[in-house]
């Protein structure tokens, strides 16, 4: 039971807003000690896992490209483009992106899009520009909301698209685990059952994007002054 202390530290640390890196390290040390591990063994396990997970941090190599394009007016250009398009709204654009992201993930192309490579340079600025135009001017809270919604849309599209693909990690994990219990399944038998939830995810998130549009449009119709 004492090994659960590490979880308690994580929860308390995030709630109290301590520095997450310190919280994680404290949790690892406490969990390791509670399990009777030697401090050097905890350090070695943590170091080995950190090295093995380096591929997670590769994605930052896209930042020089994003920085170069932003310095040359990428976000301003996105705004100009949306301004010239009639009928483009934040909700419709994000719904289109949701469908695209789900579709790409479902054929195994999960790393093609993502927060650094597509959301920051393209999706968020386009959504923001559309929202600005349709609401007659966003205030700071609405601007935050639209940006956060762009990031959320990428996540929903990725999570509820990728399991439809046969060779994704989660499908292989399920297959491998069930084999230990003597249940033999083909990946296709698993991936087809990801489809109902994928449809539900599109409908639920799409409905929320439609409501976002209605709120933004209503604001302009009320004629609230721009901030």
């Amino acid at each position: 039971m004492w090994v659960l202390l590490g979880i308690a530290i994580i929860v308390a640390g995030f709630l109290l807003r301590f520095h997450p890196l310190l919280v994680i390290l404290a949790s690892a040390i406490v969990t390791g000690i509670a399990a009777g591990l030697d401090p050097l063994a905890i350090l070695a396990a943590f170091g080995k896992a950190f090295n093995d997970a380096r591929y997670v941090s590769i994605i930052w190599i896209v930042l020089p490209v994003v920085g170069l394009l932003e310095a040359h007016g990428l976000q301003e250009r996105a705004r100009g483009l949306i301004g010239a398009m009639r009928g483009a709204t934040a909700g419709r654009f994000l719904t289109f992106y949701l469908l695209l992201r789900q579709g790409l993930s479902a054929i195994g192309l999960t790393s093609v899009a993502g927060h650094p490579q597509t959301v920051r340079p393209l999706v968020a600025p386009i959504a923001e520009a559309a929202a600005d135009a349709q609401s007659g001017g966003l205030n700071d809270d609405e601007r935050e909301e639209v940006r956060a919604m762009a990031a959320a849309t990428d996540n929903v599209g990725l999570f509820f698209g990728e399991d439809i693909f046969l060779a994704i990690g989660s499908i292989l994990l399920i297959k491998g685990l069930l084999e230990q219990y003597g249940i033999i399944l083909e990946p296709l038998q698993l991936s087809v059952w990801a489809i109902p939830t994928a449809i539900a995810a599109f409908l639920i998130h799409g409905f929320r994007l439609w409501r976002l549009d209605r709120r933004l449009n209503a604001k302009r119709n009320r004629g609230e002054p721009a901030p």
């Binding site: 039971m1 090994v3 659960l4 590490g6 979880i7 994580i10 997450p20 890196l21 994680i24 390791g32 350090l43 943590f46 170091g47 896992a49 950190f50 090295n51 997670v56 941090s57 590769i58 930052w60 896209v62 930042l63 020089p64 490209v65 994003v66 920085g67 170069l68 394009l69 932003e70 310095a71 040359h72 007016g73 301003e76 250009r77 100009g80 483009l81 093609v112 927060h115 959301v119 920051r120 393209l122 909301e145 956060a148 762009a150 990031a151 959320a152 996540n155 999570f159 399991d163 989660s170 499908i171 399920i174 685990l177 069930l178 219990y181 249940i183 399944l185 698993l190 109902p196 939830t197």
Partner: protein
């Protein structure tokens, strides 16, 4: 053969450039410690395999000490808005074309490299293609926009400073997961959840499985950690063996119930905290706040789908 190690070498070079440029950044009040942080990360990319497990552990302690005690600052160097607008008018849609080089190369490379198994490690085809896309986009961008070679590195450094310590949070949480696995945290949690099920209730067992997947994922930040535990505690003994549920449906949708938990937790840093930093949101949990309205109904739908579809 081109493997992930080539990409690590490239990433190390980029982090080293961020460190060198950061060191000379007069606008950052903590230029030295910030530069040291990115330099340690460059070292990890270049020499991680040579450092040994304890050496890597010490490197992590260095990163945490630098970031945890306020050593990271932010430099500036943004191009002023009027200049950006003027450039946007000048370069037009060319900017989008360059932005699309990375995803398009990643897409094409993934297919192409799988056909060249002797040249490129097929397991890492997308990440290698992504790195290639970055190099092509940089070359095309610098030539087409007539920018000096230091412009992308300087601007990349500025964005990296904005992301700050959140950049290594996903890697740290993955490492914490390894320590949790070593300590047997999962088994203890699974045992507790299985005790909470009302006796003889199929619906209770389905709800416990779906909610357990989501809750344990919220704690661990990763449905992959929750899945073996919940499936061993409830999925196989109760849903599959006792109530004869279809294992494919129970497990496939159960995993997705866990993904609903991923939308709700700061522990899934690369999906929830990193974009908040990257999009410069004031609220660190702003992305999670937007996801609650999708995740909770979807979790309910997933649990209902298991109950309706999996049992004869």
């Amino acid at each position: 053969m081109i493997t992930l190690h080539w990409v690590y070498a490239l990433a190390g070079a980029i982090f080293a450039a961020f460190a060198l440029l950061g060191l000379r950044d007069a606008t950052n009040p903590r230029a030295r410690t910030t530069a040291a942080f990115w330099a340690l990360l460059a070292l990890s990319m270049w020499a991680g395999d040579a450092l040994g497990d304890i050496g890597n552990g010490v490197l992590v302690l260095g990163l945490v000490a630098l970031a945890g005690f306020g050593g990271l600052g932010r430099g500036d160097g943004a191009v002023p808005a009027p200049a950006r607008q003027a450039r946007a008018d000048r370069f037009g849609n060319r900017l989008f074309a360059i932005a699309l080089i990375i995803p398009v190369t990643a897409l094409a490379g993934t297919f192409l490299f799988k056909g060249l198994p002797g040249w490129v490690d097929p397991k890492q085809a997308t990440l290698i293609a992504l790195a290639l896309g970055v190099l092509i986009a940089l070359a095309v961008g610098c030539l087409w926009l007539r920018a000096g070679a230091t412009v992308p590195l300087q601007q990349g450094r500025r964005l990296m400073d904005q992301v700050g310590w959140a950049a290594i949070l996903p890697q740290m949480l993955a490492s914490l997961g390894a320590v949790f696995a070593l300590a047997g945290v999962g088994e203890v949690v699974g045992g507790l959840v299985s005790q909470a099920i009302p006796n003889g209730s199929l619906l209770g067992a389905v709800i416990a499985y779906g909610l357990g997947m989501a809750l344990f994922t919220i704690v661990m930040g990763n449905a992959f950690a929750a899945f073996p535990v919940m499936t061993a505690a409830i999925g196989v003994p109760l849903l599959i063996r006792t109530y004869h549920g279809d294992p494919a449906i129970v497990c496939a949708i159960g995993m997705l119930a866990g993904f609903c938990g991923t939308l709700l937790t700061p522990m899934a840093a690369n999906f929830n905290l990193v974009p908040a930093a990257l999009l410069e949101l004031k609220d660190r949990n702003g992305v999670i706040r937007q996801q609650v309205g999708t995740a909770l109904p979807l979790l309910a739908v997933s649990i209902a789908l298991i109950y309706w579809l999996a049992f004869p």
